[in-house]
């Protein structure tokens, strides 16, 4: 039955993606472009060469982390919309370690930088979580506002106290060499952070799907009355989920610093947390789904740039396609019942027809 449900969901997800790609094709046609060339360029751009594949996976790294972060928070019924802010603080924390303890070897330095980002992101999420469970202050509003605070705060820090001496670019100094995660494929920003992310994904999967903590988080999110009645410490689980969520976002920021830019930049994230949220919504907070959908989003992003450069079809089209997928998924249950009743009707009509014959 569960499998049946999953299959049903997968089918509707697949149909949603297909339908949005078709709509995308029509938008291309309406603009006088050939959708076939467009999509071929898209696929080529995402997977056409070793470099392209590497770039796709490089784009996947932050999305997996922010997607998992959203999953755990949404599962527990507390909505962390503050991923972007946690990411910025985490990134800054990692950069700060990287420019301060310059003599540490990587084996000590990298875990230290990650710990700093984890703590920064986690603490930044802890604050709204406590407001929520103690005083019932809406966490959505608080976390949204904290995003702005974090972005502006880090922007100040890197322009004044921690501004880089050269480059006039609104960033910290380059982190010490020991902290720089090595690149894996020539020209691509893909780096060893992907291995860390693989491990983190497995841990998160295990946590959410195989442990009593994950079970409690899920129950709390589904019915907090039931959970409390059943002896689960609802507040503690909500806080835990929120802090883990913030920590994951912080780590996502750290990897942007340690693996991609090698320094903190004031606009370091193009909205990774928001993309992660979309991903988690699409896959209904399933950790495996998050990983796969992140790869899909990463491929779309990488491919869309190549598509734009090769065919002139604006890469914004991909955002449109992504939005349409969300719309379809949001309307999924509605579609499902409609399709079911359609099928049921057809069967009924068929039967009636047989009777008449």
């Amino acid at each position: 039955m569960k499998k049946f449900k999953n299959a049903e969901y997968l089918i509707s997800l697949f149909l949603s993606i297909l339908a949005s790609l078709i709509i995308g094709a029509f938008i291309m046609l309406a603009n006088g472009r050939n959708p076939v060339t467009g999509y071929v360029a898209l696929i080529n751009g995402a997977f056409g060469s070793k470099y392209n594949i590497a770039t796709t996976f490089a784009k996947t790294v932050p999305l997996v982390l922010t997607g998992l972060a959203t999953s755990i928070s949404f599962r527990s019924g507390i909505s962390n919309i503050g991923g972007e802010g946690q990411l910025y603080l985490g990134a800054f924390g990692a950069a700060l370690i990287g420019i301060t303890f310059v003599n540490l070897p990587g084996i000590v330095g990298i875990p230290l930088a990650l710990a700093a980002s984890l703590i920064a992101g986690g603490l930044y999420a802890l604050f709204p979580a406590i407001l929520k469970v103690r005083y019932n202050i809406d966490e959505v509003i608080v976390t949204i506002m904290l995003n702005t605070v974090a972005v502006l705060l880090t922007s100040y820090l890197v322009n004044y106290p921690f501004a880089s001496e050269i480059g006039k670019m609104g960033g910290t100094e380059i982190i010490a060499e020991g902290y720089q995660l090595s690149r894996l494929v020539r020209l691509s920003t893909l780096n060893t952070s992907i291995f860390y992310v693989a491990v983190i994904s497995i841990i998160m999967y295990y946590l959410l799907e195989r442990t009593s903590i994950g079970y409690e988080i899920k129950m709390v999110g589904q019915n907090s009355n039931f959970s409390r009645y059943g002896g689960i410490n609802v507040k503690r689980r909500m806080i835990f989920a929120m802090v883990v969520s913030g920590a994951l976002c912080g780590i996502a920021g750290a990897f942007e610093v340690l693996g991609v830019h090698y320094r903190f930049l004031q606009h370091i994230s193009p909205g990774y947390a928001w993309d992660g949220m979309l991903i988690a919504l699409i896959v209904k907070n399933n950790p495996i789904g998050v990983v796969l959908m992140s790869i899909f989003f990463g491929a779309l992003k990488t491919g869309s740039i190549s598509m734009e450069n090769a065919t002139g079809i604006p890469s914004e089209l991909i955002s449109v396609i992504q939005s349409i997928i969300i719309l379809f998924i949001a309307g999924e249950s509605g579609f499902k019942t409609k399709i079911k009743s359609f099928l049921a009707n057809r069967r009924a009509i068929k039967k009636a027809g047989e009777k008449n014959a």
Partner: protein, 518 residues
């Protein structure tokens, strides 16, 4: 013969894994009270939901006044004059009574603004016409279930329904409220020419109220007969397919020991009003203490205080000598307290979770189900759940379906299976058989007695006096947050206890305390 208003022909409804209706043919005559009875999961609700357009039949046809109709949505049903009052109410808690009644057919001042005054006058008008008293300006969330049901009925009438389907209407009502409801139903049919279909499993009600009765079992229609030809025995046999005897339950004497002491508890309800005004009693091992009272007199709040779900303002709760006032539910559970909550949907289970997930709660972090309290082991969990499903006869296609796919009785059996499987020395049981069929009631009652005979202390809260009388060793009555009487088993009659439940009499029978007549 009266006019056939609705004919259901060969209705079949297939859910994944469950055949809910199997070629059911049934007709409803104009101006009759037609009862549909059957155990939980027999397919009564499904059949009515098909008639109301909530489900589409897998096959089969519906005729209305002799013509085939297709009812795709409740809107279609309403157009035909069919209205339904659901077992689980569909009201907006934060709206007022008047707002709920006019919901969907709001009187408007202009395009955007609702005419609230008009809504109130509509409500008052309806209330007068049908003799269902309600306060149009009260918020629904602050009202008792009985009143909420009235609102549901008024809502349906306001939409102009001629055929009213009532799904388990008496499950949540006190005897007095039930009597009220029956008067209303008779008035609707006899004076206003409406047709009523009532789903129930209480045999006395069927016999007292209906003109005809259809019996369903396991998705099939067993038969339809005139009520005057039916007896309780006949119907019960048709329902369960075997003879049912409400036999005397077997009690054995077990040593009594005080395990729960409640002293001077005061607590407020959700509206902030004093719901408990100093309640004191003791509960002993090996006994069932029944709390009798009209719903809304503090029973729910009492249970919540005892289980840690509500804060007491004054007083103390001692569990086996341990101070347990205002402790978290988890701490109280750890002291050996299990709880069957009165509202299984809101508190007793998670509808979106699978049966396995629902039934493992409380064991999910214990060995061997979770190694070191963390790593959950699928195999022992599944084995435990499937054992409990079998033991407690939870009817489900698999343990992986979500709980909302179960019928009310099976949901309740699932909750009871979980709670009774803990080795708790104290069981707090609220409305254990509300909305549950006869077969399941018998089963649940036997389980409760079994626990008692094993030495558990059981606090039973029920709106069903029969249940209280059948199970309890001791009964206390509660009225407006105060205990009005305490009686030993067989010391008092149902009629007499009603006086205590309604506050007309106060005082302890025990220990020679004089009754005081008020």
């Amino acid at each position: 013969m009266a006019e056939k208003l609705i004919e259901l022909k060969e209705i079949t409804k297939q859910f994944p894994g469950v055949l809910a209706n199997d070629r059911v043919s049934l007709d409803i005559e104009k101006g009759e009270i037609h009862a549909i009875i059957g155990e939980n999961g027999a397919g009564k609700s499904t059949l009515m939901k098909i008639l109301y357009g909530l489900y589409q039949p897998t096959s089969g046809e519906i005729y209305f006044k002799g013509k085939p109709v297709s009812i795709k949505t409740p809107l279609d049903a309403i157009k035909l004059g069919i209205g339904m009052v659901h077992q689980h109410f569909m009201l907006v808690p934060s709206f007022t009574v008047a707002e709920n009644i006019v919901l969907g057919v709001e009187p408007r001042k202009n395009r955007f603004m609702m005419d609230y005054r008009k809504a109130v006058s509509i409500t008052e008008e309806l209330s007068k016409t049908y003799g269902l008293k309600v306060d149009p300006n009260a918020k629904v969330e602050s009202l008792s279930v009985g009143i909420q049901q009235r609102i549901e009925i008024l809502k349906v009438l306001n939409k102009g329904a001629d055929i009213i389907i009532l799904d388990e209407p008496t499950a949540v009502l006190t005897p007095q409220e039930t009597e009220e409801l029956f008067k209303v139903i008779r008035k609707l049919v006899e004076e206003l020419g409406k047709t009523v279909i009532i789903i129930t499993h209480k045999l006395q009600e069927v016999l007292a109220l209906s003109d005809r009765v259809s019996v369903m079992r396991q998705g099939r229609l067993v038969g339809t007969l005139k009520t005057k030809d039916a007896t309780e025995q006949i119907l019960a046999e048709m329902m369960v397919g075997r003879e049912v005897l409400f036999e005397e339950l077997n009690r054995i004497e077990v040593p009594r020991e005080e395990v729960l002491t409640v002293k001077g508890i005061k607590a407020r309800d959700n509206r902030g009003l004093m719901a408990l005004k100093g309640v004191s009693f003791s509960l002993y091992s090996g006994e069932i203490l029944g709390i009798a009272g009209v719903e809304g007199n503090g029973q729910s709040e009492l249970v919540e205080v005892l289980t840690g779900l509500r804060q007491a303002e004054e007083g103390s709760v001692m569990i086996k000598g341990v101070e347990a006032t205002n402790k978290e539910p988890m701490e109280i559970r750890n002291l050996g307290v299990s709880h069957i909550p009165e509202d299984r949907l809101a508190t007793g289970l998670s509808k979106k979770a699978t049966i396995t997930e629902n039934m493992i709660l409380g064991y999910h972090n214990r060995e061997p189900y979770a190694t070191k309290g963390i790593h959950m082991n699928k195999k022992p969990i599944r084995e435990r759940v499937s054992r409990l499903i079998k033991e407690f006869d939870v009817r489900t296609p698999s343990q992986d379906v979500t709980a909302d796919k179960l019928s009310g009785g099976n949901m309740q059996k699932m909750v009871i299976a979980r709670e009774f499987s803990f080795d708790s020395s104290i069981l707090i049981v609220a409305q254990p058989t509300r909305g549950v069929d006869i077969g399941a009631i018998e089963f649940i009652h036997k389980e409760i007695i079994k626990k008692r005979n094993e030495g558990a202390a059981i606090l039973l809260v029920s709106a069903d006096l029969d249940e209280i009388f059948r199970l309890s060793d001791r009964i206390i009555t509660i009225y407006e947050g105060e205990i009005t009487g305490e009686f030993k088993r067989r010391e008092i009659s149902k009629k007499e206890i009603g006086l205590y439940m309604t506050g007309k009499r106060k005082g302890m029978r025990q220990g020679g305390v004089q009754d005081e007549e008020i």
